[in-house]
């Protein structure tokens, strides 16, 4: 990618990340919540991949870290739901519900939002990395035009090292 894109990406990645965190934290006051915020945060990492390439982004966030963050997100959600058992029912809202329209009101909803954002963000980034590893198979004696029905990727889709 060109220099302009790389320069602007340095600024916008942190802004997108901050916006995603805002949407997650205010999930009980404004529309959004865990899933939408998680998607936006995954998008900030994908922005890095698009601008700098896969290796640069993977230096910031390794694949094994992504897998562990995803599991921790799921386990945190299950743990919060199990905490409700102390109040008698699974998934009961047992933390303090403060005054409405404040940031720290409505009990466990904000913690659940954070757990969901961890899982969804890490999961979407892992899906993107797994699909981006794929390289179209390019061999010497096979071109895209040899497919008689003409259904297949065009020449422009070929990437990867020429043999």
């Amino acid at each position: 990618m060109s220099l302009i894109v790389k320069r602007i990406t340095r600024i916008t990645v942190s802004l997108i990340f901050l916006f995603g965190v805002y949407i997650v934290m205010h999930g009980h006051l404004t529309p959004g919540g865990g899933f939408a915020g998680g998607v936006i945060i995954a998008l900030s990492f994908i922005h890095l991949v698009l601008a700098f390439g896969k290796e640069e982004a993977l230096k910031r966030l390794k694949e094994s870290t992504v897998s562990i963050v995803e599991s921790i997100g799921g386990l945190m959600f299950l743990g919060i739901a199990l905490l409700g058992l102390f109040g008698g029912y699974f998934f009961l809202n047992i933390l303090a519900k403060g005054k409405p329209f404040h940031l720290f009101s409505s009990g466990i909803i904000i913690l659940c939002n954070i757990a969901i954002f961890l899982k969804v963000g890490a999961g979407l980034f892992a899906i993107f990395i797994a699909l981006a590893v794929f390289r179209m198979p390019v061999s010497d004696n096979e071109e895209a035009g040899s497919n008689p029905k003409g259904i297949g990727p065009e020449d422009t889709f070929k990437r990867g090292p020429k043999k």
Partner: protein, 112 residues
């Protein structure tokens, strides 16, 4: 009422594309269109004429909202659709690696 009929027509277009088209990537797009049509149908169920979006406001008292239950159900359904689409695209990518074509007529080693 006519909006619901348009939703069904969109769903029918999506299912047609999913079942009839021969290119694998077009089938993925068809499934996406069918999912959008169902999500749209659900949200339209909750519409009440002359009502507002279901967000509480500390400054004023609002008496009529649209129904927020279908909106919560659709969030779940959109996430499920994302999962299925991701899985479908991954399988299509791997199928291309093995069979070297996207044409569904050529991918027919299983018979009988």
């Amino acid at each position: 009422m006519s909006l619901y009929v348009l939703c069904f027509i969109l769903f029918a277009i999506g299912i047609y594309c999913l079942l009839v088209k021969k290119n694998l990537v077009k089938k993925v797009v068809g499934l996406g269109i069918a999912e959008y049509a169902i999500n749209l149908f659900f949200i339209l169920l909750g519409y009440r004429p002359g009502a507002e979006a279901p967000i509480l406001d500390p400054n004023r008292v609002i008496t009529d909202f649209v129904d927020p239950l279908p909106q919560a159900l659709i969030l779940t359904s959109i996430v499920i659709g994302l999962g299925v689409t991701a899985l479908m695209v991954a399988i299509v990518v791997r199928l291309y690696e093995k069979y070297k074509t996207f044409d569904i007529d050529e991918i027919r080693r299983l018979r009988g």
